[in-house]
């Protein structure tokens, strides 16, 4: 994250941001630190969704299922087995990766909207099983009071853990996108036919993107267990997936950091609007409509467009 995510010139700002993020728990009250952890992990979730969506052109419409499975994997290992929680933090994302491999193998034969809908139906199947399997997953109650290691059980500990893991994950994702594989993936998004013609294995590249996205979604789910100590089946309901896709769109789905910004906006809007009115979904819905109408490239995409000239992003978009 510290090495120029937007461009090489921005490096100093990333270091400043990182230092600020490290220092905030010393001054902010508990609630805001918790909120910041939630923003970071939702940001990671949205950015992992944007990996196949924005950079691969794949309609990853049910991303929350990998997030939920990652969280449930971690939670179940901690509560049902005697294994170390640190191991559980690894097993959760791996379960999510395995699920995304299986679902990806089934869905990848289809494209665009059909892909998204098949993914939603498979995801709903997973949700229904988790929702009904009371004896194992706790059914619609979920699992509460999951104990995590002492060092990260305080709100500050959880925050720093989230910050470090999110930072590392974003850095890895950034490196992947800048690698030859990342270029090939973006080439597939822009022109799948031509990519296939020059010898790129389109389906295999897309499948790998789905697996990577599933892993990082699982990490985000694990971070939620650390921050909130609970899991519940709504974490893999399709409405959350829609919200995550909207985070990508709101922040800018053709930019790397856009989804993080979108996640921050949505979490903040929800938190602060809901202190004034119970009708926060109304406010959120109206904001989405305005964004879709006036900022089709999202907030960050719009800002980048201002600096680089507007044609830049319009060209990228099919």
């Amino acid at each position: 994250m510290a090495t120029g995510v937007l461009s090489g010139k921005g490096r100093i700002w990333w270091i400043v941001a990182l230092v600020v993020l490290c220092l905030v728990p010393l001054v902010l009250p508990r609630f805001y630190v918790y909120l910041l952890s939630i923003i970071l992990l939702y940001g990671l979730l949205a950015m992992s969704n944007n990996f196949p969506l924005g950079f691969g052109g794949i309609y990853q419409l049910h991303h929350a299922v990998f997030y939920g499975i990652g969280a449930y994997g971690t939670a179940l290992v901690i509560t049902k087995s005697g294994l170390s929680p640190w191991l559980a933090f690894l097993i959760g994302p791996l379960v999510a990766t395995a699920l995304s491999l299986v679902m990806g193998l089934i869905c990848i034969r289809l494209s665009k909207l059909y892909f998204g809908m098949l993914q939603i139906s498979l995801g709903s199947l997973v949700w229904a099983i988790v929702y009904r399997w009371y004896s194992f997953t706790g059914g619609d109650d979920g699992i509460h009071g999951i104990s995590v290691p002492d060092i990260i059980s305080s709100y500050k500990g959880a925050y720093y853990f989230t910050l470090v893991i999110t930072g590392v994950c974003l850095y890895i994702m950034y490196r992947i996108l800048k690698s030859p594989y990342g270029s090939a993936l973006q080439g597939i998004r822009d022109n799948p036919v031509r990519s296939a013609m020059i010898g790129v294995n389109v389906k295999r590249h897309q499948l790998l993107a789905l697996i990577i996205a599933g892993f990082f979604a699982g990490v985000a789910g694990t971070l939620f267990v650390v921050v909130d100590n609970t899991v519940f089946p709504d974490m893999m309901f399709w409405t959350l997936s829609m919200e995550v896709v909207i985070m990508c769109l709101l922040g800018g789905w053709l930019t790397f950091m856009g989804p993080m910004l979108g996640a921050a906006m949505i979490v903040l809007i929800r938190t602060f609007v809901s202190t004034y009115t119970v009708y926060w979904a109304l406010v959120l819905g109206i904001i989405f409509m305005l964004v879709i109408f006036f900022l089709p490239n999202g907030v960050l995409g719009w800002i980048v467009g201002l600096f680089k000239g507007k044609t830049n992003l319009a060209e990228v978009k099919e």
């Binding site: 309609y59 419409l61 089934i106 034969r109 289809l110 665009k112 909207l113 059909y114 809908m117 098949l118 939603i120 139906s121 498979l122 709903s124 199947l125 229904a128 099983i129 929702y131 009904r132 399997w133 009371y134 309901f237 399709w238 409405t239 829609m242 896709v245 909207i246 769109l249 119970v278 009708y279 979904a281 109304l282 959120l284 819905g285 109206i286 989405f288 409509m289 879709i292 109408f293 089709p296 099919e318």
Partner: protein, 293 residues
């Protein structure tokens, strides 16, 4: 579990099928002609159910109230959808599907909160009209609600009316043509914009009608849109996008696997319809019947 129990359960599944068919045929119509994956369809269904509550209360809860609701609620939903289409959707037909899904999802958030503002968050129950109260003995003398018999009669009526609309009326023919080649239809001098608007309104009022019909059998509550829209989408995908008969077939599979699944394995009854969708899409990735896409 005996044959009589299975038959009765099949009838329960068929009454569910009717509701699912009515709602998803509207969704399929809109998908086929306008290419909008309308996530707000479920909200219109919910609004229809809440409208049924208000109208049947207004007209005294009896037969009159029910019939007024059956006519009035779909009309109200039609007005709402007309306003939404003319106000917003007509400017966005050229956008990508992803944008349209998100836009309609934003609509469903707004509609959901509007329902909360107008009707409040409590459960509402709509009385079964007097003429359909009571039970009839079905196979083996097991009682079957009379209202469900009414629902079973509604299904074929709606299906025939839809068939007539799509195949025999002028607007149906224009709409089918527009689904295949919108530009050509515009080039021969037809106002495509208004054709789209009327198809959208008809599709949405079907959602409202489904909401009214389901209202006496369930408790009308916030969140009833979320499960239904997912089911309707899966039915439409399973049947073939834009194909009304596909919607009927999909609704049959969905309704019957749901009711049979509960007999087979009560705890995991709800997973069977999803399983059926996955199996269908594994073997026929673009749906059972021909899609208009």
């Amino acid at each position: 579990m005996d044959a009589i129990g299975i038959l009765n359960q099949a009838f329960v599944g068929l009454s569910r099928t009717v509701i699912l068919f009515i709602v998803s045929s509207g969704l399929s119509l809109i998908l086929g002609v306008l290419r909008i994956p309308n996530v707000a369809h479920g909200s219109l269904y919910m609004i229809g159910a809440f409208m049924a509550f208000t109208l049947s209360k207004l007209f005294g809860g009896g037969n009159l109230g029910f019939w007024m609701a059956l006519i009035g609620a779909p009309c109200a939903v039609a007005l709402i959808s007309l306003a939404a289409e003319r106000g917003i959707f007509q400017h966005l037909y050229e956008r990508e599907h992803l944008m349209l899904i998100l836009l309609t999802f934003a609509f469903s958030l707004v509609f959901g909160d509007l329902v909360k503002i107008i009707w409040g968050g409590e459960y509402k129950s709509v009385p079964v009209p007097y003429m359909f109260q009571g039970f009839v003995p079905l196979f083996g003398g097991l009682p079957f609600p009379l209202y469900n018999i009414f629902l079973l009669a509604c299904g074929p009526i709606i299906a025939i009316l839809l068939w007539l609309l799509v195949n025999k009326t002028k607007i149906g023919k224009i709409a089918r043509a527009a689904a295949v080649d919108m530009e050509m239809v515009g080039a021969v001098g037809i106002n495509v914009s208004w054709v789209f608007a009327s198809v959208f309104v008809i599709g949405c009022s079907l959602a409202g009608l489904g909401g009214v019909l389901v209202a006496p059998t369930v408790s009308v509550t916030l969140g009833m849109d979320h499960t239904l829209i997912m089911e309707a989408f899966l039915i439409v995908i399973m049947g073939g996008l834009g194909n009304i008969w596909g919607a009927l077939l999909g609704a049959l599979i969905f309704g019957l696997t749901q009711s049979m699944g509960i007999l087979v394995w009560p705890q995991f009854g709800i997973i069977f319809p999803y399983l059926a969708v996955v199996v269908v899409l594994l073997f026929r990735p673009t749906g059972l019947l021909k899609s208009t896409w």
